[in-house]
Amino acid sequence: MRKLLLIGIKDLTLVFRDRAALTFMLLAPFLLTIGLGLVTGRFSGGASGLSDIPVIIVNLDDEQLGDALVEVFSSEELADLMEPTASSDPEAARRLIDEDEAAAVVIIPEGFTRSIIPADGTAFDQNYVETESVKIEVYTNPSRPTSSGIVKAIVDEFVSRVEEGRTSGMTSLALLIESGLIAPQDIETESNGLFQNVETTESTAITLKTNQQGAEAVDFDILAYIAPGMALLFLMYTVSYGGRSILAERSQGTLPRLLISPTSNVQVLGGKVLGIFFIGVAQVGILILASSIFFRVDWGDTSGLVVLILATVFGATGWGMLITALARTPSQVGTIGSAIMLIFGILGGSFIQLDQMPPLVRTLSRITPNAWGLDGFTTLALGGTLSNLLEPITALLTMGGILFGVAVVLFNRKGIVQK
C-alpha cells in the first residue's frame, strides 16, 4: 500500500508542476463557470443567482391538490425564485411559452385531485372504479433550460410527495382497519385527513431536500449547477490525462524501470490509478471549494459533499482506465479522452440540463459520471444530505468498479504493463 501511495503522490506532484495541465484542469473550468454565470445573469442578480422565474400556472383541477400546488408556487419561501401567473387557458399559456414570455407552464388537469383522492363515499366502495391517472403537464421553454428545469423539479417533488403520501396513507389505513383501530365507517374522515396535510403544509413538497433543522425554502443557485457541471466536464479530461500518463511512462522508460524495481505489477498499476484518483479529487475539490469561496455557493452537508466528490472521481477514473486500456499510444488516449469529455459533457448535462433532453438522451446519460455527479451536487445545493445521495453514489461506485474490472482484463490481455 505504501508504494501505491508513493506512486500516486508522485503523479499528483508532477501534475501540479505541469502548467499546461493545471490551466486545463483548473483555470479553464473556473473561467467557464464565470462565463456561464455571467451569461445566466447569476452575477447581476444578487447572491441567489436565478430569481423571479416567470411561470404560468393553469389550475383546471380546482380541488385540494391542485390548489396546494398553486400555493407552493405562490409561497413565501419561493417568492424570490418564482414569479407565478395564473391562467385558465392552457393553449394561451403554451403560446406565451412559445413566444418566450415565461420559463414554463404548469397545467394541472381537471380531476388531478380525484385521481389521487377518491371522492367521499367511494374509497372503499366495492363498485368503485379507479380513475385513470391524471398527470400534471409542465410545458417548458427550451431556451430557458435551467429555469424551466427548476420549475419541473418543483412539480416533480410535489407529485412525488403526494404519491408518497397516498401510498403510505392507504397502507396505514388498511393496517388500521385490519388491526381494528379504526372502524370502516371512519375511513372517509381519516383518508381525507391524510391529504388535508398536503394542502395545509404546501411547502413540504419543496422543502423535502432542505436541511434537517429547517423548513427553509429551496433557493437554487444556478452556479450550483454550472460549477460542478464544468468541474465534471474537465474531470473527464483529467482522468484521460492520467490514463495517458501510464502509456507515456511506458514510452519514457519510467514504467519499465518501475517494473524492474521490487514493485509488483499490481502495485504499479494501482499506484497509477491512485494517482489519477488523487488528481481528480484535487481538481474537483479545488473547483468546488472555489465555487464556495468566490461564488458563495452553499454546498450544505460537508460529509455528503466529500463522499460525492470521491465517488464521482472514482466513477470517472474507471472511464479513464478503460480509455487507457483501449488505446495503444498516449496520443490515442488524448484523442479518445477529448471526444469522451465532450460527449459526456453533452450527455451528462454539463452544458444543458438533462431535464431538457429527450428521454433517450436522459437514459444514455446514466452511463456518464457527469449525470450522476450533477444529480448529487444539485441535491446537495437544494439542501440534501448524504442520505439523499445514496442513488448517485451507488451508481458511481458501481460504474467505477465495473470499468476497473474491464480495464484490468484488457490490460492483462494486451500486456500493457509487462511484455
Binding site: K3, K10, T13, Q252, P256, Q418, K419
Partner: protein, 314 residues
C-alpha cells in the same frame, strides 16, 4: 571466483522473429563483463530478460542464486539497472527522483536520505540536486540515470549502452564511474556497440550478433581466437601512386596482402615492426613519399569483422 549470474539457453521470440537465440554465459563476482554487438543484436532484450522485465520464451538465468523466471522479486533485490534510455521524471529534481526511486527499492527514513546524499556526491550533482532534471544537460541526466541504479547498492549492475548520444567529456566521466564502481567491488554487465569501451572496461567480453553469442572470453583470448595479423597503413602524398607502391610490396617477405585505398596502402602482415624498414626502403626506391604510418594491432573490431564479415558500426 563464484558466478553471480549464470545464463542458460535464454531465448526470446516475438512471433516468427527470434530476438535472442539461446545464449549462455556467466559472470563472475567482481568482474566487468561486456556484451558487445551492433544495434539490434539482442543486447537490450537480453538485459530486459535478466532484469525480469521480459519473460524469456525459454531458458533461464540465475542471479545471486535466484531464478529470473521463478523468483523475480528476489532477483530485483540483487540487481540494479541503468537503462539505455533516460528513465527519469524530468519535472522532479535530481534529489526527488533519487528519493522516489529509493523508495521503490524499499529504502526510507534516514538511510534513504544519507544514501541519496552519497549517490549525489558519487555522480557529482550535489550542487545541482535541487534543480529539476529537465534543466540538466544530457550528460548530467545520464549521471542521474546511473545514480538511480546505484541507490540500493546492488551486487550486480546492468548498464545498457549508458554512453549513447552524449559528449566525450560525459562519456569519459561515465567510463571512470564504471571503473570506480568495479573497484569498490560491484559486478557489472555492460552492453555497448563501442569496441573501445568494451576494450577499456572489460575483464571478459561476449560478442553478440543477430541474437547469438558468437564469441566469449577475455580480450586476449578473443583476438587469439581470430589469429589476426597486424595491419600497417601507409598514407602517401597526393601526387604519389599508391598502386605502384602496393605492387612493389607484394613480393616482399612478411607481406601477406597489400590493398590500395584512396591515398593509402594497407599491408597485412604477421608483424608490422619486422617489415617496417623494408617497406620504407621500397617506397624510397620508387620515389614515393610516405607522409604518415599507423600500425593496427588485433582488436575486438577485427574479431567482430572476422566472425561476421561486417564492421561493428553496421
Amino acid at each position: 571466483m563464484p558466478s553471480i549470474l549464470e545464463v542458460q539457453n535464454l531465448v526470446k521470440q516475438y512471433g516468427d522473429f527470434t530476438a535472442v537465440k539461446g545464449i549462455s554465459f556467466d559472470i563472475k563476482e567482481g568482474e566487468i563483463f561486456s556484451l558487445l554487438g551492433p544495434n539490434g543484436a539482442g543486447k537490450t532484450t537480453t538485459i530486459s530478460m535478466l532484469s525480469t522485465l521480459y519473460t524469456p520464451t525459454s531458458g533461464d538465468a540465475t542471479i545471486g542464486g535466484h531464478s529470473v523466471t521463478k523468483d523475480p522479486m528476489a532477483v530485483k533485490q540483487v540487481i540494479g539497472v541503468v537503462p539505455q534510455d533516460l528513465a527519469l521524471y524530468e519535472d522532479l529534481t535530481a534529489r526527488e527522483n533519487l528519493i522516489f526511486w529509493g523508495q521503490m527499492y524499499g529504502l526510507g527514513g534516514k538511510s534513504l536520505t544519507s544514501r541519496v546524499d552519497e549517490v549525489l556526491e558519487q555522480i557529482g550533482l550535489t550542487d545541482k540536486a535541487k534543480n529539476r532534471v529537465k534543466t540538466y544537460s544530457g550528460g548530467m541526466k545520464r549521471r542521474v540515470n546511473i545514480g538511480v541504479g546505484l541507490l540500493h547498492k546492488p551486487r550486480l549492475l546492468f548498464m545498457d549502452e549508458p554512453t549513447v548520444g552524449i559528449d566525450p567529456q560525459s562519456r569519459r566521466a561515465i567510463l571512470d564511474t564504471v571503473k570506480d564502481l568495479n573497484k569498490r567491488g560491484m559486478t557489472l554487465l555492460y552492453t555497448t556497440h563501442y569496441m573501445e569501451e568494451a576494450q577499456e572496461l572489460s575483464d571478459r567480453v561476449g560478442i553478440i550478433d543477430h541474437g547469438e553469442l558468437i564469441a566469449l572470453g577475455t580480450q586476449a583470448e578473443l583476438t587469439k581466437q581470430v589469429g589476426q595479423t597486424d595491419t600497417l597503413i601507409l598514407h602517401v602524398g597526393e601526387n604519389d601512386d599508391p598502386e605502384m607502391l602496393a605492387q612493389s610490396l607484394k613480393g616482399l617477405k612478411g607481406v601477406q596482402h597489400a590493398e590500395v585505398s584512396d591515398h593509402s596502402v594497407a599491408i597485412v602482415t604477421p608483424s608490422a615492426e619486422e617489415i617496417l624498414a623494408a617497406v620504407v626502403s621500397k617506397a624510397n626506391e620508387r620515389g614515393i613519399k610516405i607522409r604518415t604510418m599507423e600500425i593496427r594491432e588485433p582488436n575486438l573490431e577485427a574479431v567482430f569483422l572476422h566472425l561476421t564479415a561486417r564492421a561493428l558500426r553496421d
